[in-house]
Symmetry: C2
Amino acid sequence: MSALLSSLDTPVALLDVPRMQRNIQRMQHRINELGVRLRPHVKTSKCLPVIQAQIAAGASGVTVSTLKEAEHCFAEGINDVFYAVAIAPGKLDQALKLRRNGCRLSILTDSVVAAQAIVAFGQRHDENFDVWIEIDCDGHRSGLTIDDPSLVEVARTLIEGGMHLRGVMTHAGSSYDLDTPEALQALAEQERRLCVSAAERIRQAGLPCAEVSIGSTPTALSAQSLQGVTEVRAGVYVFFDLVMHNIGVCRADELALSVLTTVIGHQQDGWIIVDAGWMAMSRDRGTQRQREDFGYGQVCSETGEWIDGARVTGANQEHGIITLATGSQADITARFPIGSRLRILPNHACATGAQFPDYHACDAEGAIQTWSRLHGW
Amino acid sequence: MSALLSSLDTPVALLDVPRMQRNIQRMQHRINELGVRLRPHVKTSKCLPVIQAQIAAGASGVTVSTLKEAEHCFAEGINDVFYAVAIAPGKLDQALKLRRNGCRLSILTDSVVAAQAIVAFGQRHDENFDVWIEIDCDGHRSGLTIDDPSLVEVARTLIEGGMHLRGVMTHAGSSYDLDTPEALQALAEQERRLCVSAAERIRQAGLPCAEVSIGSTPTALSAQSLQGVTEVRAGVYVFFDLVMHNIGVCRADELALSVLTTVIGHQQDGWIIVDAGWMAMSRDRGTQRQREDFGYGQVCSETGEWIDGARVTGANQEHGIITLATGSQADITARFPIGSRLRILPNHACATGAQFPDYHACDAEGAIQTWSRLHGW
């Protein structure tokens, strides 16, 4: 069933499908050229038609952030699924069930304790889990540094316990703090070098470590070489957003996700009140400490033209407050009358998407389909 | 079907039902004593058993932030529903349908233009909408100030157009910026006085204006008099949260909503990594500029005891980073081992609740029921 933009109630999450397709092609082409596989992170979209478009373009399996995403992907025929969050022992039951059903689910750990738990559970259930070891390449979050004595110990624990060590992985999350090509290239090289070195350390200890998985959208788009790497993971490139725009890895006309909203009022201080508050935009303020702070989002016309200086500078649950850099109250009220519509580009596509039960996916002809997305765990 | 805490997969949104019931009783009792009706704002919970508990305690109708909430409440037998966001003309069709089905839905406006749109639509469909006029009592968001010449004009437009002007309403949203009883009492009095004055201005113009609706949780709990007011609206009191705690209107042991999470790792700099990231907590940083910044949440033990100095200081999509004020790495790893569980109190209950498809509602005996909540529009 398809609809037209004018028939949609607001707020809705609009997906520009041609932009999305170009984003998918761009990343896939780049990673193909660098000679490795691309395993998209589906936590951004949590939406099957989006994931299917990534697979159709050449992706090798998927990365997920929850086991619910894994179950969803597997139910739709995607077999190679990497759950890229260090697994809590309590989730091994759910992981086992997926594998017993035929999913080639791989899991992640970064400690001897958790590796022992995986081994104990695996042995108890006669299951040889596919396991990755997480490497910390930038002090950003989790993982083992390459000089941590536990690194080889975790590998040994898994392998001697009968598990299949699939490889090492890292995520250069600190790439979100950068905004020059030079710094991004340097971090991409650091991500590659440290993760490949971690694999080497394990191999030097006489243990097999076949794969090296790295990635974040900014480093994936900045890497000059992926020597020694076997796969790249990236997520937000599929839609891009204002944070990525500030980092410098996409143009404004590559942002595929926006929120369609309606003007519901004006205030004398030049505010335009719209029906997209933080419940629609999310509370993500990812551009706050970047080169340009977009508030809760950049305002565009209903058809998508960027309106210079127009931003959502305040948000309550169902009220967004848009301010303009210039313009008298009378001008603003005339230009953005009650009932008129705007589009808002989000800071962070993963966070804004999560506020909606579905995307309204708009094709090149303007026909709109409803694509549902996962919510919860 | 009921479960036990130990059987739940994490992350989940836990609701302490005895605390919630006490919060409901406390507000209802207070508003009863002040001699007016309480119309709870259900945008906090979006959950039927919670709303039913509020009605059972004596609430008169409900306030909603979306027409989807209105439809949901009406389907469950709640007839008096106030949609307290200035209505976009495009939503009048949906409002009409509710009214034609028998719902006493009332709507809101704060401009002549929107009032004219309501009148035109109402006349076209032979429907006399119940309409409130929004008053701006603190420059916080939307509404007409009492000296705005449009105030009487909006009232006249509605009444002469055949609509039923139900009354005036305001919301002292700036109460969230305060944290002393004196300042809160003063703002509560300002909210009352200005909204009552707005009604008086309309009456002085010879127009009927029966009702005066005010409210926010902090002002509702601080008002010394509600003379001239007919009803109070408040929402977040039903669960309370860290923002309310910082404002000073609740104790820590009144916070009814928390997120149950599992420890999935540790880092050498003293971080505890848990499986509740911003997808679980939301990106709401409401305590950032308050007297105490709780990061993404205050950490408690699995059974709910507040752990001094333990906060979620960083959050990625499915990773929360907990730091402690003191303690060596070895102490922290021993005290919070992988697989152990914690509860996190949220900054903002409305935002955190929205991240979950349901609450896990825990009664005094520890039995847990799943209560679904609305998502989307």
